[in-house]
Symmetry: C2
Subunit: 443 residues, 2 copies
């Protein structure tokens, strides 16, 4: 990856309709493919090579570390910050006073030491942790990324927050927009389950059903961005995607801080587009570079459902590119058949000595129940996928049970009740008397 002209980026700014762009330490965007740099703005693809853009920071510059706080000074600043992702504002594309602006203040969710689960999986006591993002305001990690996109939308003078979605993202955008005083307009396939429609619609924004598949919804959104009708619209996962993605770094920051400013040895992360996994790796690298944690090897493992396992298939076949699949799995929030960040995920998992693995729908349901009955955490199908893969990799010896392992739980079981309903019910039905109780063998 080349670096050119980044020094001049540090002082470069873009005028938006509301004035100068202040996104804190963010100094510009750069292409992940060709390294070309761009000023901060609502753009997401390189003008030269169409590669994805990502945010560059003042602290990326070799010379900047002289003035940017590092190590224990930065640690102290973070520890004194708010109990939300904004404690890491110095490392994010947000203004320094971000916590004072109306937003949902996501993050700083629990890192649960999962000793019961460890016992069942044969992991050493005190070595297994679940990062439980169901504790976020709308109960998924999407609140983290949407909060970043919202700040970019503010900076660029947008007044409408939008996205295409089939679930968690719709609610996260609707809620964040409501709180921040933005209009929201979310696009979904018209035939979504009623429960998901309610969860997205209740925040009072526009919720537009598109007659077509999720791919049709996406295509329509791209069209809208290029049209005057889409002016002033921030699509969190399209034209604000470079900022949006940075929200996932906060998972890495929190995990390390909650481990006492240490890197985990092994971390298991679900793969949808693959963005979250790549950004967690980016976050870990930043912590090392800034002297917040001691450098040491860590392994990153990616988790997919068998019914949508293009990255896992490529990993096992030794391929560098990902062949698209047609998804068919209960893990709908991971059902992206052509994941944009697939090649980067493969690179990270191979480079760190990790792996990508997949599990069946049945194993996903089993893992949901395993986590609930051992730790009292009810996760959605994506979390079941991640834990199911962790279990499989521990059994296969790919994950070392004597080292620290973190399993990332990205969402809440209340949103995917249908997945466990057929096999989860009452253990007995009795008459209201002690004889009936004894006959049922419950005494």
């Amino acid at each position: 990856m080349r670096r050119k002209g980044l020094a001049s980026m540090a002082v470069q700014t873009v005028a938006s309709t509301t004035g100068t762009v202040d996104l804190g330490p963010a100094s510009g965007l750069s292409c992940r493919e060709c390294g070309e740099v761009f000023a901060l703005g609502p753009i997401f693809a390189c003008e030269l090579c169409f590669g994805p853009l990502e945010v560059k920071y003042a602290y990326d510059l070799p010379s900047a570390t002289a003035t940017f706080p590092t190590g224990s000074a930065l640690r102290k600043q973070i520890e004194n910050g708010p109990a939300s992702i904004w404690r890491y504002a110095p490392l994010l594309p947000v203004p320094a006073d971000v916590a004072t602006k109306p937003n949902l203040n996501p993050g700083w969710t629990k890192l649960v030491q999962a000793d019961n689960l460890a016992r069942e999986l044969g992991v050493e006591r005190g070595r297994l942790f679940v990062k439980d993002d169901s504790g976020n305001p709308t109960h998924s990690f999407k609140d983290r990324v949407v909060a970043q996109a919202l700040e970019a939308a503010r900076a660029f003078g947008f007044t409408t927050l939008s996205c295409s979605s089939t679930g968690n993202l719709a609610g996260a955008v609707g809620a964040a927009a409501a709180r921040a005083g933005f209009r929201s307009c979310v696009f979904i396939p018209h035939d979504l389950e009623q429960g998901k429609i309610v969860m997205a619609a209740v925040y009072g924004g526009e919720l537009v059903g598109i007659e077509g598949t999720y791919d049709d919804v996406n295509r329509f959104c791209s069209e809208l961005i290029g049209d005057p009708a889409g002016e002033g619209w921030g699509f969190v996962n399209v034209n604000l995607r470079p900022y949006y993605g940075e929200g996932s770094k906060t998972l890495a920051y929190e995990i390390c801080e909650q481990l006492g400013w240490q890197l985990p040895d092994q971390i298991v992360i679900p793969i949808a587009s693959g963005s979250q996994l790549t950004k967690i790796d980016k976050g870990l690298q930043e912590l090392i570079k800034l002297g917040l944690v001691e450098d040491k090897p860590y392994k990153i493992f990616g988790a997919q459902a068998e019914g949508c396992s293009p990255v896992s298939a490529a990993f096992k076949a030794g391929h560098d590119v990902v062949r698209p699949q047609k998804p068919d799995t209960i893990a709908k929030s991971l059902a992206i058949g052509n994941p944009a960040d697939g090649p980067y995920v493969l690179d990270i998992c191979r480079r760190t000595g990790g792996a990508v693995e997949d599990v069946t729908d049945e194993q996903i349901v089993d893992a949901i129940k395993l986590l609930a009955r051992t730790e009292g955490i009810f996760t959605e199908t994506a979390g079941g996928t991640t834990l199911g893969v962790a279990k499989k990799l521990i059994e296969a010896g790919a994950i070392d049970p004597s080292l620290t392992t973190v399993v990332v739980n990205t969402g809440d079981g209340l949103k995917t009740l249908d997945a466990v309903a057929p096999t989860t019910g009452m253990t007995a039905v009795i008459s209201p008397n002690l004889d009936s109780f004894r006959e049922a063998g419950l005494a």
Copy 2:
């Protein structure tokens, strides 16, 4: 209320099967009616007058304040504590090392400054707050009370955690028991909605359907406590009720600490049994007595659904006692027709200058949507009831819009989707093209 023999209680202990009972500052139980005192144990009714028992503390004693930390010293101790209810361990019936035991670590939920909502309700900016307990591990305030009951169960050597429930409590008990390594056995009416059964059953404990009404379930549980079959069973809301109830005090503690160690002027609380409201008042009184907040008047308001409004009816009629009602409301978690703490609630609301009010099911749904579209918080029907009543009281002039008001949101909208589903949906369905978008008037 008389006080007798409390000094001797401070050194009194009860041997359980696991040894001496250590419940921290808890020194005994006393009858709320006749003042008789008892040693700590799994009892809930006075042997003399059958009045309800409540926990007494070392810091209740006039002489104890000399050794018990107060004021700024206690504030500092709390502020350095964990980000959960256990920061208040010195004020709760739990051992000092409670945070090291496996539990769900509930509490320390967000106090949201609700300026958008304030604007809509005509409240002065910066004066309206929502205490959002949907952020708890199983997304309701029940995690607070169950966590207390669990510590009492540990202290008394119980191995099974149990309760009767129609919703939130079942999940809270199932999850807490799983995490703590307890067996759980929860009793529900057999004809509960499937979604609620799944939410309770997923944690893997026994979930027993009782052929009968919720009253039949309750009667059966009382029978089981008196039978050898119920030996070693802690029913969180029956034989552990005095401890269980103390969990609600933490709402009062957190609200005041989050307001900068200040009492709110006005606080609106839902009424089911009425326990939560009385314990919040108790918590506020303790903060005053221990010098954690400055003493000043505050008003407590109780909220009920019109379809189950026995306390509101008694308040309006000027009665001291509550006439039972047959519940018929969408606010099922508040549908207790004969609330045990009704008379105490009436006393507190009258004494503080507050009120008890009720709203219709339609107003409950409107309030759920109002909170979602203004602050991005999706509450359940109980929260809709509380906000609906707050709105009604502001409009009636009973709540002063220039003073600080806290509205307590006890649960999560994902658990009562049915309440809003009929009136919450897509705003438009369009074909995936710009012409269709424009025709729908969305541009």
